[in-house]
Structure formats: structure tokens, C-alpha cells
Amino acid sequence: MLNIRKLHKSYPIGDSSLHVLKGIDLSVEEGEMVAIMGSSGSGKSTLLNIIGMLDEADSGEYILDGVLIKNLTEKKAAIYRNKFLGFIFQSFNLINYKNALENVALPLYYQGLKRKERLEKALFHLEKVGLKPWAHHLPNELSGGQKQRVAIARALAANPKLLLADEPTGALDTKTSYEIMDFIQHLNDEGKTILIVTHEEDIANMCKRIVRLKDGVIMEDINVEQVRAFQNV
């Protein structure tokens, strides 16, 4: 599903440069649910951004679903992002002037679907995250948990192969966090491949595999016994 070999990335800081990723090797199979852990500055978000094609590696190989991701034009990157990836962000990143339904329908718009079809699909996904009655509410009329669920519905709308979540519970309280994790676990149960960046142990333990990063290298890569989130709700 996902294959990364000898990935390097550095950022220029003034005259010098900061070496953030120092040779990452990682492969993820379909249906996995992987937590990428590490303290801040460990490079975990950078890794996720490269996987998400929001950023490009300096060197190394990245193959996603059999496609080598390298030297992409903006247009190609946009198409791949749309087709392969679904993003869930810590700060939700909903478009504030669009209601829940329109937010969910946005990736479908860029897929070129007809409006009617788009709205039907978006409504279906909203229903899946239990927010059908809130379809016509603006983001600022929703709670944090609801916003994140809208974001999840949006990430799912384009039916991506890989779901990338960057601290999906970072802005939520524990109870809501677990609700969201429960939901993400269900998605994984249905077969979605999911990558979660987090620095919270309990969230990481709800995944099936934990990859620990430190100073740009993988320290530890272990499979864990999944803790079901609903037990904690």
C-alpha cells in the first residue's frame, strides 16, 4: 500500500539547514492502523506531510499504491491527493463559510462530480458520522467533536485509499477524543488504511501498530494490542 525507503528531508533555517527526516524506511499494508508518535520536532508531522503529498522529500523513494510519488506537478499532486488521500487535521480545517454538507462535498467537486450526485454522496457520509440533521449548519454552529466528524466525513467522501490524521484529537476533550477514535476504529474495521500522528499514548494504543520517531529516525516500530475506544467512553 505504502512504501517509503531512505527518506530524507531538511528545511533551510537562515544559512544552515535543519535535517528533519534522516532516512526513514516505512511500509504500511492495506487495512493497517498505524500511529506515528514522537515528541515535537521529531519529524512526525513532516513525515505525514510528505506521505500526504503536501510536501516533497529531498531524497528517497515513496511509493503509494504502486505509484512512485516524485517530481509531481501541482496538477498531478492535486489529482493524487484527491484520489488517494483523505486528510483529518487537528484544527479541523473546515471552510467556515460553507455549511457541513458543502464542506463534505468539496472534494467531490474537485473530482468533477455533478452537483446532485455530490450532495447525495456528501449527505450519505454525513449520515455515517451521525450528523445528517446538522447538514445545513455552518462550522461555527457545531461543537469541536461535530466539526471533527464533519472533517472525517469530508476525508471519506472521495473514498480515499489512505486516511491521514494529524493529531485528530489534539483540540478535543478526552470524552470527545474517544468518540472520534471509536469512529476511526470502525472505519479501520471496515478496511480503511489509517495513519495517525499523535503524541498521546492512549490514542496511539488505540491503533494496531505504533511507529516511534525521534530526531528524524524511527526508534521503534511495534504491533500492539488494540485498545477499543468505546470501552473508555
Binding site: 496538477k75 492535486a78 480545517n93 474537485y110
Partner: protein
């Protein structure tokens, strides 16, 4: 290619950011408003200048005579110079192609009466061409014609106000009007943009007057129009040539300013034209300055818009928006705001011109209007301006890296 969804996106963005839209729209509308008003005023000014001469054909040359002020070739000073029919023929023959219309003119004051109504009017005895020289507009009947001249018929063409004064509610055509005891048949009614005095005038065949009053062939004036193909300078030279030739013909000292005089419209028009031209250059500079200020204004606002929407653009890109979609959204928004606001400003400007236009006549501004071609030109300029104003910000927006956009919270 019309993409309904794209427009829906744009309208949503415009609608959800009303303050921003109104502000940027205001900039453009105001610029166009000023542009329209300035242009209208300039047009009004040049209208005033050209209107000052509507009374007569603007290529007319009037030739008068007086008494000599200098002794010359054995003649005493103080000699009366008189134009005659033969002088008109001479002018006609000598200058040929250079002259378009020609007429002699004898002026008199007459007491007119019809039934119980009486009044005194100016009467001009003329040739048929006089109609074109004086810009006389026949509203009913006909003007003096060649047959009238040949037969010395007692016919008159009267001004609109003469008919109003004397004939009250009935039509004057075909009626006989008594002028100083002689009955003339009214064959035509005219109007003239030269004002009330011109419309209280009576025209009659020159030959009729010459026979009835003194049985001579004297002319008070010879009026001609020069060939309109001539430039102002050529026409001025032509006028000087006529003066020179006539002075020689009448044995008048070439430096005598009183015996033969000429009023050449080319001279006046040349001055007017220069003023109007200078005015329009100034106005164009000011107008386009305003327009450019408007474009810069909206461009600034669009740059701000892109900055403000950086995150949104980042989100869209993360969701798979290609650069083209981002460019379209910013560019079309800019074009749409510019065009609608600009059009609004234009209509408002034209409305203001219409509204205050009549009260500006005291300030030498007549009928300040913006021409249709200018409106079309301005609309195209607006669309182009909107594109220019939107393009650079849009290009910048399309280059936003989603990662950068999403990071700045």
C-alpha cells in the same frame, strides 16, 4: 465554457464576505464614477464650444464692405464700397471648387401685418444657398429656390416665431403676408438653433428685393462656405486671398482694414479646436489616472483577499483542487466585482450627469454625456482591468503550498 459550479463557488465567496466585496466594489465604482463624470464634463465643455457656432455653417466666410479709410490709386478716403451681383459672380468664377455654397444678402427691417396682427421683423433677401450657410431648418413648405430668383417672385419663408406671432393658431403656409405694403406669399416655415432672433427672421428672394427697393443690384454681404476638405489653415489662407483679391478689384489700399472685411469661421474653429483638443487630452490623462488608481485599488484588495483566504486555499488544495481551479476562483471573483461595481459606477455617473447636466449650462458645460462607444470601451476596460487586478494575486494564490497554508493557525 460555463461552469455553473464554479460560479456558485464564487457567488458564495462574494456573498459570505460582503464587507470585503462592498469595499473593493466601492473602489472600482468610485473610480469609474469619477471617470464618467470627468469625461461627461469634458464632452459638455466641447459641446459648448461647438454649440457657440451652430447658428451658422462652421465653414462659412462672410464678406462685408464699408467705407475706405485710406486714399488709394487716386481715390479719396471715405469712399463707400458696394458689393453687387457681379461681385458674387466674380467670387463664384474665381474660386470655383474652393467654394461649396454662395449667396448674396440684403438686410432690411420690415413691418409685417396679417389681418389684425402687426409686428416688425428683420428680413434677409438671399440666394437659395443661404439655407445651408445659416443652418436654416425648414419645418414646413420649402425654402427660396432658383425659380424664385429668376422670376423675382414675391414669396417669403418665415421663422417659427413669426408664424406664432402673426398667425396664432392657423397655418401660415399659402397665406399672404403684408410687408411694408407689399403682399408676399408664405411658402415655408423654418427653425434655427441660433436663438429667438434668428427665428423672428423672414427670408425672401434677393432678386425680388433688389427690384422692389431701388431696382438696383446691390448686395450688403456676400457669404460663402469654403470646401470642407480644406484644413483650417488652408481655409484661413483662402479667406485672406479673397480679401486681397477684392481689395484689388475695388481699388482699395491693401492695408485698409475698413473697406473690405471678412469673418472666417475657420479662424474661430481653429481656436476652439485647439482648446477642445487640449481639454480632451487633459481629461483623458485624468480619467485614465483615476481608472488606474481603481485597478491598483482592487489589485491591492485581491492581494489581501488571497492572504486572508490562504488557509482556505490550502484546504482546497489538500482536498485536491488543481492550481487552475484556484486561479479561476480568485480571477473570476475579481472580474465579477470589477465589472459589476464598475458598471454600477458608470450608470451612476451617467445618472448624475443627466441630473446636474442642465444646471451646468451657466458654467459653459452643455449636455454633458458619455457616448455609447465610451461606455462599451469602458466596460471592456473594466473586464481587462479586473483580469489584470486579479491575475497576479490569483497566480500567487495558486502557488500557495497547502502545508504552509495549513500551518498558520
Amino acid at each position: 465554457m460555463f461552469d455553473l459550479d464554479l460560479w456558485r463557488e464564487i457567488f458564495q465567496s462574494i456573498n459570505k464576505n460582503r464587507t470585503r466585496t462592498v469595499l473593493s466594489g466601492f473602489t472600482v465604482a468610485f473610480a469609474i464614477l469619477l471617470f464618467a463624470i470627468l469625461f461627461g464634463m469634458a464632452n459638455g465643455l466641447s459641446n459648448t464650444f461647438s454649440n457657440a457656432f451652430v447658428d451658422d455653417a462652421n465653414n462659412a466666410i462672410f464678406i462685408y464692405t464699408g467705407t475706405t479709410s485710406k486714399a488709394y490709386k487716386g481715390y479719396q478716403a471715405g469712399r463707400q464700397i458696394r458689393l453687387k451681383n457681379e461681385d458674387l459672380d466674380y467670387v463664384k468664377k474665381t474660386y470655383g471648387d474652393k467654394i461649396q455654397y454662395y449667396t448674396g444678402r440684403v438686410t432690411r427691417n420690415v413691418n409685417a401685418s396679417f389681418e389684425n396682427e402687426k409686428n416688425s421683423y428683420g428680413m434677409r433677401a438671399v440666394h437659395p444657398d443661404h439655407q445651408y450657410l445659416e443652418n436654416t431648418k425648414i419645418t414646413e413648405g420649402r425654402y427660396i429656390n432658383k425659380i424664385d430668383i429668376e422670376n423675382k417672385t414675391k414669396v417669403i419663408v418665415i421663422g417659427r416665431l413669426v408664424e406664432e406671432d402673426l398667425f396664432a393658431k392657423t397655418t401660415a403656409i399659402g397665406k399672404y403676408l403684408n410687408l411694408d405694403g407689399i403682399q408676399y406669399k408664405v411658402v415655408g416655415i423654418f427653425k434655427d438653433d441660433g436663438g429667438d432672433n434668428e427665428e423672428r427672421m423672414i427670408y425672401t428672394p434677393i432678386s425680388t428685393t433688389q427690384r422692389l427697393y431701388g431696382n438696383n443690384d446691390y448686395l450688403d454681404q456676400i457669404n460663402v462656405t469654403y470646401n470642407p476638405k480644406m484644413s483650417y489653415d488652408e481655409a484661413i489662407d483662402f479667406g485672406n486671398q479673397i480679401t486681397k483679391d477684392l481689395k484689388e478689384r475695388f481699388s482699395v489700399d491693401p492695408t485698409d482694414q475698413r473697406a473690405i472685411r471678412i469673418m472666417n469661421m475657420a479662424q474661430a474653429n481653429k481656436g476652439t479646436n485647439q482648446i477642445t483638443f487640449a481639454l480632451s487630452v487633459i481629461i483623458i490623462i485624468i480619467g485614465f489616472g483615476t481608472l488606474i488608481a481603481g485597478i491598483v485599488g482592487i489589485s491591492n484588495i485581491m492581494i489581501f483577499v488571497v492572504k486572508e483566504r490562504t488557509k482556505e486555499i490550502g484546504i482546497r488544495k489538500a482536498l485536491g483542487a488543481p492550481p487552475k481551479a484556484i486561479i479561476s476562483i480568485i480571477l473570476l471573483e475579481s472580474i465579477l466585482i470589477t465589472t459589476i461595481a464598475g458598471y454600477f459606477g458608470l450608470v451612476l455617473g451617467m445618472g448624475i450627469l443627466d441630473w446636474i447636466g442642465p444646471s451646468l449650462e451657466t458654467y459653459f458645460i452643455t449636455d454633458p454625456k458619455v457616448s455609447t462607444s465610451l461606455v462599451i470601451g469602458a466596460t471592456i476596460t473594466l473586464i481587462v482591468a479586473g483580469s489584470i487586478a486579479g491575475y497576479f494575486p490569483a497566480k500567487k494564490a495558486s502557488k500557495i503550498k497547502p502545508i504552509v497554508a495549513l500551518r498558520d493557525n
